[in-house]
Symmetry: C2
Subunit: 535 residues, 2 copies
């Protein structure tokens, strides 16, 4: 919803007449005020508004969007009547008042994703959210037809999150020059080697750049995809130098970005990708920048930071809602994924564990089987793993999904959609049932277990459950269960015809009273879903 | 060294005449002052002393030791002349002055163990320290002949650390009643069930109890063994109730304990064993108690806290010098031990991963092979694992080493001594060479590598090293190496007759130029030590 409050001689003030419009809870209310600034409107105009609903109020920063447009966006967290009033150092923008009605969300609008049950996530409306994301760092900087293709690809996938950057990427295999830049160009210089160097005015944003980004985030929202937005990254290497702006420019950028985007319900903040490779910033700088994001975000979107391999930032700090780490060892080995979970008591997302692909770099050449396996290894540790794909068939101009989007060329992406159906059927978070002792079983505490055999090939499996059931009530003699064999690779689920009934505890485990076994196909990557049958 | 400053009519003040004695650096200077307090000397007498050596000064708390003895103990960190002067609310104890000479340490006196190189330890004199400890929670509360036997057993072992508690232990299989208690007995009551309950005066310590503990800590020091002293534990279950004293009593106890023991160079503070099982204390309480220990310890001994399985306290807090955690998953699986290391950037000691033994509980029934394997799994992750043994051959009156000491009856303890010789020969900390990618190799950065094969049985091993060498210089083409095959179980080291020479990097690895292999015996638990041959 957009409201335009006019300023000029040619318009009458009409906001009072249209103020009683309605928007859905967690949708975006947008107020546009017109004012012609004679000086830099980005730096010389302060604008905010207070939105009030009974005893709840939010003070929301506005921003300059170019063309004399000053915008304030607001995402109502509560239904009912909201009143607002603006405050500005510019009389024409000050004390503008209005009201709107916030109504119940419909359709796919479930609100923001938040942390739930310590280690998991839920939408604001209570619907569980299982992060099954992919990665495409610079897809919004590719030619428009590639962007449209990326959206089509995502639409036909099962992903519900994507990691992507605000800034363009300059990296091995990613050399595309974007058409839009976040700042106004001051001049193009030649450096000592005669190379052209763009010089930016860090006090003047390019609204068109951000409008485009916003369009893409809304496109993702319409597909039910969360945007894990990377605010800084090191993949610049002197080309545009967005990784080495002065600290004041970094903070202005965060202020501007959060003013524009906090009202987008599908935004997560990722302070950086591979933060420790950004040589111009210290750990203290990162903390300052993180605090700035949190301070400027009235809704407290999910927020984390991501480093190079096995680099763990101070994720225990309250600013970080979850762990978003690059590390493959935790999901390459049994029992390892849960360690970070036990340490942080926050949701753990292994947001980079390598990519399915055919690159010569070791991070970019997993088989589809391996990628799918690692994602399941995360689930069986009570954590989450992000997908990525890096196939290059011709040369660096290929759209390698990892950075550019386009189409998936691999095999694991489909399996992620299958896993999502499994998790959404269970529809409650999964916890390691017998922590540090049995690393192949998770429980939802309500009678559903998932067992994953990984690369093991077994002819049969002796039905048994651990006595320990996370922090939930222990399974009891007489409990009966249904078993389904899940082939995570073939994406099939087959119900075992027998049911199983627990006998008493024997050495920390409960077996079927007749020691019944489950016959398994001689294949790797199998899982079992075990579901209690109500009496 | 003990100095007695007399107070009574029968003694002359003689401290000035003996003040110029000498003690070794990191040894214990002890000043005893006599005063007959008419009221509770533990609570009504304040005593401290300031020790000064040029621009360095320490203010050290004294304590009441019974029999009208007030003691101040000091561990000089610097050589040279130290002057001291006492301060007290009692005139007879106030303004006592003296001086002594601190000389170079000799023999096995290497000073306190401190953190070094982020993840490792060193004695104060620079000698590297590799923690290879064992566990005997209540050995100092057993009959005296068992205590003497424990010391003899430790003397003939390779352990250089022991985890032990201040308080006695009441637990399944550990029912022995101690002869000494830390507090003065007020009365013996009968509870509702007619059971005798000891009621303590928490304002009056029993000096004899602490003198005995100190004797044992000194015995350990003489054996070169660090005392990882557990200040609180949950193994009381209403019997003596030292686990549920009021907070004020807890803090007084810490004050008294640190005043008595901080000057012991082989002390480490372990705030608790299985802290989360102490139901009377919250995480906030533990932090308060930890801060009290740190505040009262002028020398900043190593300090940590230990929880139940997979329970990680806030080890990132600066009070904790290292991680002392109970968790087996990190050393049961490749690549998992390093995760906590990467997260905390502190030394990691897996201080409880289960015990070699024959108990019916799953924590107490590892084979010797398994215990030895887990200790090596720690080393190959750049971390440390503590040994433990829990054999019971008759009944609970057996001296199960884990709680009571006595003799070792297992097989892994000898292998720990062997491992210690390996680590001390290398004599520099070992770091994962290629973190999160190759979990079987550690490097000292100076041309020495350790590779551990665990339970793998290999006929041969193709000589190769990772290109990555932790943060150290990478191995280069032309480097030559000697290889030794270490049988961690048979405790043998065999030099391979060939030498090996690196070729250029091939896909992140460097192989021998002739692709030479190392022939291996078909046995598990083998390791290789690879040592660069200087050109």
């Amino acid at each position: 919803m957009k409201i335009l409050l006019a300023y000029s001689l040619f318009f009458v003030i009409f906001h009072s007449t249209i103020a009683q419009s309605t928007i859905e809870q967690w949708d975006r209310f947008e107020l546009t005020l017109k004012y012609q600034s004679k000086v830099n409107a980005f730096t010389n105009v302060n604008l905010k508004a207070t939105f009030t609903n009974k005893d709840t109020s939010y003070t929301i920063a506005g921003f300059y969007d170019g063309n004399d447009n000053f915008i304030i966006r607001f995402m109502p967290q509560k239904m009912g009547t909201w009143n607002y009033v603006t405050q500005s150092n510019i009389a024409a923008l000050n004390n503008k008042k209005g009201t709107f009605e916030c109504i119940k969300a419909t359709g796919n609008n479930h609100g923001m994703v938040k942390v739930s049950d310590v280690y998991a996530f839920k939408y604001a409306d209570g619907k569980p959210y299982f992060p099954l994301g992919t990665t495409s760092y610079a897809w919004t900087h590719m030619p428009n037809e590639v962007q449209e293709l990326t959206l089509k690809t995502l639409k036909n996938s099962g992903f519900n999150k994507i990691r992507m950057g605000v800034f363009p990427k300059n990296y091995d295999l990613v050399k595309e020059e974007p058409t839009l830049f976040p700042y106004e160009l001051l001049e193009v210089k030649k450096d000592a080697n005669g190379k052209e160097v763009k010089v930016w005015d860090f006090t003047k944003f390019n609204p068109e750049f951000f409008q485009h980004l916003e369009k893409r985030i809304d496109n993702l929202r319409d597909l039910g995809i969360e945007t894990d937005l990377i605010i800084f990254h090191p993949y610049d290497k002197g080309r545009w130098r967005f990784d080495e702006m002065p600290m004041e420019a970094n903070l202005n950028y965060i202020q501007y970005l959060t003013a524009r985007l906090s009202s987008f319900r599908n935004i997560w903040w990722s302070l950086a990708n591979e933060y420790d490779y950004v040589k111009s910033k210290t750990d203290a700088d990162w903390l300052t920048l993180t605090k700035a994001v949190v301070k400027n975000d009235p809704y407290r979107h999910l927020c984390s930071i991501h480093g190079s391999t096995a680099k763990y930032f101070d994720y225990w700090r309250p600013e970080f809602t979850h762990v978003s780490v690059q590390d493959e060892a935790p999901v390459m080995n049994w029992g390892a994924a849960s360690i970070a979970r036990n340490i942080y008591n926050k949701p753990i997302i292994y947001d980079e564990v390598g990519y399915e692909g055919n690159l010569k770099q070791r991070w970019g050449r997993y088989s589809g089987e391996e990628m799918n396996h690692l994602i399941w290894m995360g689930i069986i540790g009570g954590t989450y793993v992000t997908h990525g794909e890096s196939y290059m068939f011709k040369d660096h101009r290929d759209t390698i999904f990892w950075a550019k989007g386009g189409e998936f060329k691999g095999t694991s992406w489909k399996r992620v959609a299958f896993l999502r159906t499994i998790l959404e059927e269970i529809n409650t978070p999964l916890e390691p049932a017998d922590i540090s002792r049995d690393s192949k079983i998770v429980t939802n505490g309500k009678g559903v277990y998932l067992i994953y055999f990984g690369k093991e090939i077994n002819q049969q499996w002796l039905f048994n459950l651990p006595q320990k059931n996370a922090e939930f009530g222990k399974p009891k003699k007489g409990n009966r269960y249904k078993v389904e064999i899940i082939d995570t690779w073939e994406m099939t689920t087959k119900v075992v015809p027998n049911t199983f009934e627990l006998s008493e505890v024997n050495d920390y485990r409960l077996y079927d009273k007749d020691l019944k076994q489950v016959r398994l196909p001689l294949k790797p990557y199998l899982a079992l879903r075990i579901t209690e049958i109500p009496n």
